[in-house]
């Protein structure tokens, strides 16, 4: 889909993604027309050319893929708080209740409509099931632009007649099962798990669980921080605070509207004043509460503006925010009070970032208190280790990792000639051979929009 976005003229044609056919690389993806000709992912490109000589061969553009992925996450994130987007399939958590959709079927239909709009004419098939595996099978058994709903309790009946070829197992195991005369998932589900384990080891148990519709795998939600920025270039450098306030308000309003439309919140706000003949002046601080709209963001930006004292005329103002999306479980919006403890811990993490690590602690009795009363208890961080790591990443301990240097190095540092201080280091070339992979999800995504205003 990413390649078709770049080349809309190829829509409906046979397209093979992977590179030029003379390269000794595998096929990564193929359009419906190419698949109909016998091309499948994993095939050598040369073989794919033999099967479908009229196909257009395109390389992989990591930027396009990431942009499409971000768009899909954003679009689905408006309907479901937990979204996982993979290469060929996306998963949404529909557990709990949604105020706008009375049942999972209509909820899934809304998701399908959003996917069609985002993929610009793509034909997604949607499956709804009580587990990830059942939902995947339902989508595979469904037709494009249709929703297949497997009711709770009906998983075994739905899976039983499905052909064995739909199972995501090693082809050798599939061949052995076929040799045993097992031709559908129901036949495998009726076998003893002990026998399957004896034949195929641990994979046999997984196979048995899948065939019975049991799957404990949850969603791997992308919680990587994202950034968005607005930059207003002033028409002539100014030192009037009222003008700066106007420009900052413009940035905050535009960014706040983006936040509201994307259903995200800003957990850190950076304000940078680009001076005419001096290094830029910047300050970063997490807002007391996550800012989710223009009014909340403007309050945070205004507080930052009051901290800066520009000593030279300002030529541009830049407001940058670090964004977070709901992740992992249903948000409070869907089920009141469900995420209370998580919300409190998230607030504690924000307060630690703002006021210092030692300002929030959870007491714990010491195992060996000894005789000294002060040793009867220990102070520990209230955040679980994962949240603490997330918090430390967000606070910008990125110098060691070489990742995002924006928060770690505020723009009070002198700027190099021709380079703004918040510029990122160029991405390192991917080692090894093969297709260049898209940037890992731990990298922050930054979108900057610049507008010019006349004052």
């Amino acid at each position: 889909m990413a390649a078709l976005r770049r080349h809309p003229e190829l829509r409906g044609e046979a397209v093979i993604i992977g590179g030029a056919p003379e390269l000794r690389l595998p096929v990564l993806a193929a359009s419906a027309a190419a698949v109909a000709a016998g091309v499948c992912p994993g095939q050598p490109l040369r073989r794919a050319q033999q099967l479908c000589p009229q196909a257009a061969f395109l390389g992989v553009d990591g930027g396009d893929v990431e942009r499409l992925r971000a768009d899909v996450i954003t679009a689905l994130g408006r309907l479901s708080p937990a979204v996982e987007v993979g290469g060929e399939e996306s998963c949404c958590d529909l557990s709990g209740n949604h105020a706008a959709f009375p049942d999972e079927g209509r909820w899934a239909a809304a998701i399908a409509r959003v996917l069609v709009e985002t993929l610009d004419g793509g034909l997604p098939a949607v499956g709804v099931g009580s587990t990830r595996f059942v939902a995947r099978m339902a989508a595979l058994a469904s037709e494009p632009r249709h929703v297949r709903l497997v009711p709770a309790g009906g998983e075994a009946a739905f899976l039983a007649p499905l052909p064995l070829g739909m199972l995501p197992v090693d082809p050798a195991i599939g061949a052995r099962l076929a040799a045993l005369g097992l031709d559908c998932l129901g036949a495998v589900a009726n076998l003893s798990p002990v026998e399957l384990q004896r034949q195929f080891g641990a994979e046999g148990l997984v196979l048995h669980r899948h065939c019975r519709g049991e799957d404990g795998g949850g969603l791997t939600v992308d919680t990587s921080p994202r950034r968005a920025a607005e930059r207003v270039v002033l028409d002539g450098a100014v030192g009037d605070l009222e003008v700066l306030r106007f420009a900052a308000h413009r940035c905050a309003t535009d960014l706040g509207d983006q936040l509201r439309n994307r259903g995200m919140v800003a957990v850190a706000v950076t304000l940078v004043l680009e001076l005419e003949s001096a290094p830029p002046l910047g300050v970063t601080a997490p807002p007391p509460l996550p800012a989710g709209n223009a009014a909340e963001l403007w309050a945070a930006v205004l507080a930052l503006l009051g901290e800066l004292r520009p000593h030279a005329p300002v030529s541009a103002i830049r407001v940058e925010v670090e964004l977070r999306i709901a992740a992992g479980r249903q948000a409070d919006l869907w089920r009141g009070g469900d995420a209370q403890r998580e919300a409190v811990l998230a607030a504690a993490a924000r307060l630690q970032r703002r006021y210092g690590e030692t300002t929030l602690r959870r007491p714990r009795l010491a195992g060996d208190p000894g005789d000294i009363p002060e040793r009867r208890f220990l102070w520990e961080s209230p955040l679980p280790s994962a949240a603490a790591e997330q918090g430390s990443q967000a606070t910008g301990h990125a110098d060691a990792t070489g990742g995002d240097a924006l928060i770690a190095r505020p723009s009070t540092q002198p700027a190099q000639k021709g380079k703004v201080p918040w510029s990122r280091p160029p991405a390192a070339k991917q080692p090894g051979r093969g297709h260049p992979r898209p940037a890992p999800s731990t990298q922050t995504a930054l979108s900057v929009r610049t507008v010019r205003v006349h004052v």
Binding site: N97, A99, P102, P288, L289, D332, R335, G336, G337, A339, Q340, R341, A343, V344, A346, A347, A348, R350, L351, Y355, T358, T359, L360, R361, R362, P363, R364, L365, P373, R376, F377, W379, P382
Partner: protein, 275 residues
């Protein structure tokens, strides 16, 4: 349709809506928060029976105001209330007074896993109130704020306090503030229930101090008429005895007479004289 049938249909409908959209989605007019009572019972019967809603009001600010400088028992009482609340759910203890003793909390039976201590630093009222507000908005149902001496500069306290009061009201949280003497005007104004804490003498046993008697008086209430009074005994932990807070008349015996030791602080001596 009979009234009984209509009532049953309505109850079924409400139950269905609450099942689908959550318990907070629909509630009756006499249950402002969907079944949750308007007061939080302190677990000290001698105190609960004297407070009109049956405990400390939810969604409002309760002030434990020291009646005089020096020892007042307000911080001990606040820790006892926090310990009691931690057995029911999450508790935030904002320790601006730098006096929190988790060991004492544990002696009082607190569930330390549910306790989150906010340590903004001594005298930093504004930061403490801002942090309390953020945690209340995030969903903390019980917040205690321990204040000590007034900061040199009062700037910013009033907006921070107003924000906390507004957040407490919106989230229907229980908020208890222990404030020193002399009373701070913003807190006196924002409080819905002010309990004046006056020490009524040390409780002694075999020459050892085993607790502090505390006279509580409702000096301000937006919920009922002020003037109610109660005397509590803050019993300190000792070997083979747990710390607890009990109503004083229930435990007082003439044989355990108050030892008014002039060598103790003046405030306590005054408190004993009042008692």
């Amino acid at each position: 349709m009979h009234a009984e049938t209509r009532g049953r249909v309505l109850a079924d409908t409400i139950a269905g809506l609450q099942h689908r959209y959550g318990s907070a989605a629909v509630h009756r007019g006499d249950e402002p928060d969907g079944g949750e009572s308007a007061a939080w019972a302190t677990g000290i019967p001698a105190l609960d029976v004297r407070l009109a809603p049956g405990g400390l009001p939810r969604g409002r600010l309760t002030l434990l105001q020291a009646a005089q400088e020096g020892v007042s028992g307000r911080l001990t009482l606040l820790q006892a209330l926090a310990a009691r609340a931690s057995r029911e759910g999450d508790v935030v203890y904002v320790d601006v007074a730098a006096s929190l003793d988790p060991g004492f909390l544990a002696d009082l039976g607190a569930e330390l896993d549910n306790c989150l201590a906010v340590l903004p630093g001594r005298g930093r009222w504004r930061e403490g109130l801002a942090m309390a507000r953020a945690l209340v908005i995030a969903g903390s149902p019980w917040v205690g704020v321990a204040l000590d001496r007034r900061p040199d500069r009062d700037a910013g306290i009033e907006p921070a306090l107003n924000g906390l009061v507004e957040a407490v009201h919106r989230r229907r949280a229980v908020c208890v503030v222990a404030a020193p003497s002399p009373p701070s005007a913003p807190f006196a104004y924002a409080s819905s229930l002010t309990l004046s804490c006056t020490p009524a003498g040390w409780q002694e046993s075999h020459g050892d101090i085993t607790g502090l008697r505390l006279a509580l008086t409702v000096t301000k209430s937006r919920l009922h008429a002020p003037g109610a009074a109660a005397t509590l005994l803050l019993r300190y932990p000792r070997p083979y005895a747990t710390a607890e807070v009990v109503g004083y008349p229930a435990v007082w015996h003439p044989s355990q007479s108050v030892a008014e030791d002039p060598s103790r602080s003046d405030s306590v001596a005054r408190g004993a004289a009042i008692a």
